[in-house]
Amino acid sequence: MEKRSEDNREVISLLNGVQELFSGRKQLSVASYDGYWVSYGALTKEQTKSCGLVGSRRKGGDDGVVDGIWLGTDLLQYTASGLTVGAIYALVAIGYNIIYNVTEIINFAQGEFVMLGGLFAVFFLETLRFPIVAAFFAAVAAVGVVGFAMERLVIQRARNASVLSLIIITIAVSILLKGGAMLCWGKDPYSLPPFTSGGPILFGGAAIQLQALWVLAVGAVVVISLSFFFHRSLYGKAMLACADNPSAARMVGIRVRQMVLLSFVLSAAIGAAAGVAVTPISLMEYDRGALLGLKGFGAAVLGGLGNFYGALVAGLLLGLAESFCAGYLSSGYKDAVALILLLLVLFFKPEGLFGSAEAAKLKRF
């Protein structure tokens, strides 16, 4: 175990250097799970495996030196990695929708919840030595508390603020969360061991990491339990009522403030779950929140803002688009794909692919 994690660190630091050359991102970037060709480095097969990479190309002989590691080489591989990333975007998008439905606020700090989820899980697992399951739930609960604090300390005071002020306020919170994370965890990326150990599943020429299945599973569990929550439980129905018509909801005795609070806690917890699940694959560092948040918003808009299942489908679509772009076109521009789609949707179909134009007119935008 000890040996393994040491290897892990070595591989990761090596990959960071290589990654820097390729992705053009700033120093100590992340070994990400998509179609990058990493053609430098000398890794043993064990190292690549322990790092969670799915394959390596050997440079002749059995000297244990590889001159290339690849993460996905064909359609199936890109589809698998696209769906994994897409599940994360979908969860972020669902987080946006929950808060938006109840408050009509777009929470610009949504991406930070994902980042905090990953980093809190590292803290519980590595520092406090929790078992993985406990660390997962502890991280989700901790970020839920952050969401609680955000609503109570900030959003509640800004009840009468203009849209412009609200944008600035949630951005300020995101800067605070990011700065706080930097102070607590520093600027280096952290990794988590996969939820279950074991090599990748080989399927039709593609190698699928076990952790990718866990990401999809977390996504599915969240979506199914949210459906039950909104359609079966009293609290869920009350939240839907607030989304539909806050004044009428208040008249029938629903405590709207409480629902707003609940929406923030729920949305923070969902973001955190996504963060914990994806950290073993893509690592996590303090400044990942903004881009994740922006892409998640892209998914939310693509699916029609406020539309729950729309967000799910749109998130997966965005993930696929990004993965295919990285694989077939240009890995440098993969981050732009989701944003270009976001702009196109905003410009030409602002109600989203699955939203109705009439419902969009009723909203405040």
Partner: protein, 326 residues
């Protein structure tokens, strides 16, 4: 220009004129001249943004992108093609104007959060382009060999010369903005901000004015970018990222959106806060910066300038409810 504005303008000219002399004679703040050069460049960006946010009521989180388009246009034309910097500057400004027109037409049909996210997304895309087009921009490692500025064969080298050049441009843009505000366009803008539907019903071509102001903001940002390029003679994409767009919005917001003076005040203040006064906090800087922002947005939504005078229209509309904006 109103009488009070005229007086403030005169006082400002005097302050700008004597500041370097004052700063140089006080050891502790002698390096403030350099900071003021940057504050001047940022002021150019923020004056345009202030017109857009405070007067037209539209948000843009893409000003760093226009700043960068100006900067890289100047950098590429002078370093790769050997153009005269004074020729490259208008080309950069025109490029920014053209891009602003292309993006503004679809984007300004959106409102509130949607507009914020659209401009934000556009800004990030431009930043990615700066990073990826390595042949032109040097990519993440940056761009060097950019010449400085000279006027009629006379090189602008000292900080003092740069200071007066930059603030001279700021004063010209400020004067132009005031005249704009008191023209037909300015009245139309205020009408849009107060009640867009009513303005439209009165026959104000609201959309056209919004696009025009958006383009104006892009042009001032691009000019600032060109000046920045020739001053620092080195470009790196990190100067034009999302955080900078957010900073520009905050400068305008902190000073007070409803007043050009507020934008100037906020820009100078936050430039000093970010680059000088918060340095003692070292790593805590970002957190303190975020906290300041939060406090201003929560408790002083009209900005610091509202402590000195009431923004026009503020009395009729003490707390504008969310629905008014969107």
């Amino acid at each position: 220009m109103k009488k009070t504005d005229r007086w403030i303008f005169l006082v400002l000219i005097c302050l700008i004129a004597v500041f370097p002399w004052l700063a140089q004679n006080i050891g502790a703040i002698s390096h403030y001249v350099e900071l003021m050069i940057f504050a001047g460049m940022f002021s150019l960006v923020c004056l345009g943004l202030s017109l857009l946010m405070g007067y037209a009521g539209q948000i843009s989180m893409a000003q760093a992108a226009f700043f960068g388009i100006g900067a890289y246009s100047s950098g590429i034309l002078t370093a790769h093609f050997g153009w005269n910097p004074w020729l490259a500057m208008p080309v950069g400004a025109s490029t920014a104007a053209a891009v602003a027109w292309l993006v503004g037409i679809p984007a300004l049909r959106l409102k509130g959060h949607y507009l914020a996210m659209a401009t934000l997304g556009f800004g990030v895309i431009v930043h990615i382009i700066f990073n990826e087009e390595v042949d032109w921009t040097g990519g993440p490692s940056g761009m060097v060999d950019i010449p400085g500025l000279s006027i009629a064969g006379w090189k602008i080298t000292s900080e003092m010369q740069w200071y007066y050049l930059v603030w001279g441009v700021v004063l010209v843009v400020l004067l132009f903005s005031f005249h704009l505000l008191h023209s037909r366009v300015g009245r139309a803008l205020r009408a849009i901000h107060e009640e867009e539907v009513a303005a439209e019903a009165m026959g104000v071509p609201t959309f056209r004015y919004k696009v025009q102001i958006f383009i104006f903001g892009a042009v001032t940002a691009a000019i600032a970018g060109s000046l920045y390029t020739h001053y620092v003679t080195f470009l790196s994409p990190s100067s034009f990222n999302l955080m900078w767009s957010i900073r520009f919005v905050l400068m305008v917001m902190a000073g007070g959106m409803q007043s050009l003076w507020g934008a100037l005040l906020g820009t100078v203040l936050l430039t000093f806060v970010g680059n000088e006064w918060l340095q003692v906090f070292a790593d805590f800087e970002v957190v303190v910066y975020g906290a300041i922002l939060l406090v201003v947005a929560l408790f002083l939504p009209q900005g610091l300038i509202s402590l000195f005078h009431r923004a026009p229209g503020a009395r009729h509309n003490p707390v504008s409810p969310a629905s008014d904006e969107g």
